[in-house]
Amino acid sequence: MSVVELPATADTTSRTRKAGRGVVWWSAATVVVLAALVFIPGLLAPGDPYTLDIGNRFTGPQSGNLFGTDDAGRDILSRVIHGARYSIGSAVLIITVAVVVGTIYGSLAAWYGGILDRLLMRTVDVFLAFPYLVFAMAVAASLGRGLTSTIVALSLLWWPSYARMIRGQVKSILNDYHIRAATTLGARRGQILRWHVIPHTYSQLLVRLTLDIGNALVALTGLAFLGLGATPPLPEWGRMVADSKQFALTAWWYAVFPGAVIFLTVLNFVLLGEALRKRSTS
């Protein structure tokens, strides 16, 4: 054993851990800010997101309108702040549905195994084999336009990947030694799953869903850009970027500010997810 090497190793690990912790704190703080935007936009926005002011359309960023105004003279900053509820809220909703459905479905498949497992997982394969954009467009279009149908479409698409991940995890945890111990104590199936299996999936699940909130936001934006998603005048972020495209050359701020907010939000969730992953594996 080298005495010289030990402090050096300890130092590097503590440094990476410190850096990781910095990212976690920064991202977590941003999540708190985003949550505030979602829950109390009225207190934070400088103005009303819906008030039209035709005389004031396409004003560049200035003291009264930090992000400028859009084609109807509405304050873009206020619209971005109020839009957080629709954009982030939808993404969180989609992932929540995916996590809940995927966990139940995946656990059932793993626990019962055999034919049921094969049947359930082939169904998942079918879902995952579809190109997601085509599938989402088909569902969203058939349910009619609007944010709700897009949320339904993306939720339908998202749970299978969670089902597959949870099934794999549950299968491996069920082989763990402590499950044998719980079985000999007389624990019933439901108790074993609830107490000894599902909690062991949390750390990986947290990483995955953090990353996926960003991914869902991108998907929502993409669909909105294609005309599926929130209907006017809802200030959903993807919708705003989609609306801005015809004015991109004359009013740069119209596309840039909502786009930048989407970009930073997604980046934040991805960084947070990666930092959590590093922490859970170290």
């Binding site: 763990d176 030694y177 402590h178 111990a181 079985t183 000999t184 104590l185 062991h200």
Partner: protein, 330 residues
């Protein structure tokens, strides 16, 4: 002793646990492995029976069969005169409360995300014993019974030492006042200094609660320390059986003699004999022939039966059961 036991053990006059002609074969990638072969043994009420054998001898499979984690292919395993399979089908909860286990790996047997207090209370919650207040009281009692500081209830398993973790496992097993405790290599993963403490704790539990134990280990000295009776297993079946002192001091089967001599070597006190069982086990005759120093012609053609040589002391060996041959071999 206040009896919280679900089963009235005294009512039954015969043995507590009885295995007769048990067979278990595992199908592996390299073909079938016959882990247990016509194995018979008995554990009486309040008795500590040590089951010794090297790894691969099938002793852990016996534990899994008794605990219902595996199912026997043939033969019968009876607890209080009733088949284990029937217990598990019809009255699983009662059987689980009557038969408890302590496993080899103290940390892996504990859910790493649960605190000690939760883990010790778990069996009580599963079997709906008491309310949360009486359970907390019982957890304190159990912790005291296994000599654990009550302040450890808020710890997670990884904050414990190996010995403490195994005490937590023992406390969990004791919570339901079982009639039989199956201990599968309970000390082999522990430091030597801690092993004796855990063995003494188990012995104390057996004495105070007259709790029967099936104590499985690869180490003859460990088994001898607390067993009333010892069963020696080789290649899936019992080769020698008798009172603890008799088997370890006057072994009759050459395999047991090998175990004893291996254990007496100063450096390797773990009772692992030289050579391994993997070197081709014959399918006819005595399974031990390839490693046996005293094998005669008959051994390769005909398998000996487990014959009683002295009061309660049996051996599965042609040489041992023939006084003339025994004298000759010395």
């Amino acid at each position: 002793m206040p009896s919280g036991r679900v089963l009235d053990v005294d009512r039954d006059v015969t043995s507590l646990l009885e295995l007769t002609g048990v067979d278990k074969t595992f199908v592996t990638d390299r073909g079938p492995v016959r882990a247990v072969r016509r194995m018979s043994m008995v554990v009486g009420k309040g008795e500590v029976v040590g089951l010794v054998g090297e790894s691969g001898s099938g002793k852990s499979t016996i534990a899994n069969l008794v605990l219902g984690l595996e199912h026997a292919d043939a033969g019968r395993i009876r607890f209080l005169g009733r088949d284990v399979g029937e217990w598990l089908d019809k009255e699983e909860a009662r059987y689980r409360q009557a038969v408890q286990a302590v496993f080899q790996h103290p940390f892996q047997a504990l859910d790493s995300r649960k605190r000690v207090g939760w883990l010790v209370a778990e069996p009580l919650v599963i079997h709906r014993r008491g309310n949360s207040k009486s359970r907390a009281e019982r957890v304190r009692e159990l912790m005291a019974d296994v000599h654990l500081d009550p302040s450890l209830v808020d710890r997670y398993p990884h904050q414990l030492s190996g010995g403490q973790a195994q005490r937590v496992n023992i406390a969990r097993a004791l919570a339901l006042e079982p009639s039989l405790l199956v201990c599968d290599e309970p000390v082999s993963a522990l430091d030597v200094s801690v092993q004796a403490q855990i063995l003494n704790l188990l012995l104390e539990i057996n004495r105070e609660r007259s709790m029967a134990m099936l104590f499985i280990s690869h180490s003859l000295p460990v088994v001898r320390h607390l067993s009333d009776r010892i069963v020696v297993m080789y290649a899936g079946t019992a080769v020698e059986e008798g009172p603890g002192g008799e088997v370890s001091d006057r072994p009759t089967h050459p395999y047991t003699q090998l175990l004893v001599s291996a254990a007496s070597v100063v450096t390797g006190d773990h009772g692992q004999p030289r050579g391994t069982m993997r070197e081709a086990i014959p399918s006819v005759g005595c399974r031990f022939v390839p490693r046996c120093p005293v094998a005669i012609d008959r051994c390769s053609s005909e398998e000996p039966s487990l014959d009683e040589l002295a009061e309660g002391h049996s051996s599965r060996c042609w040489v041992a059961s023939d006084p003339a041959l025994r004298a000759e071999v010395g």
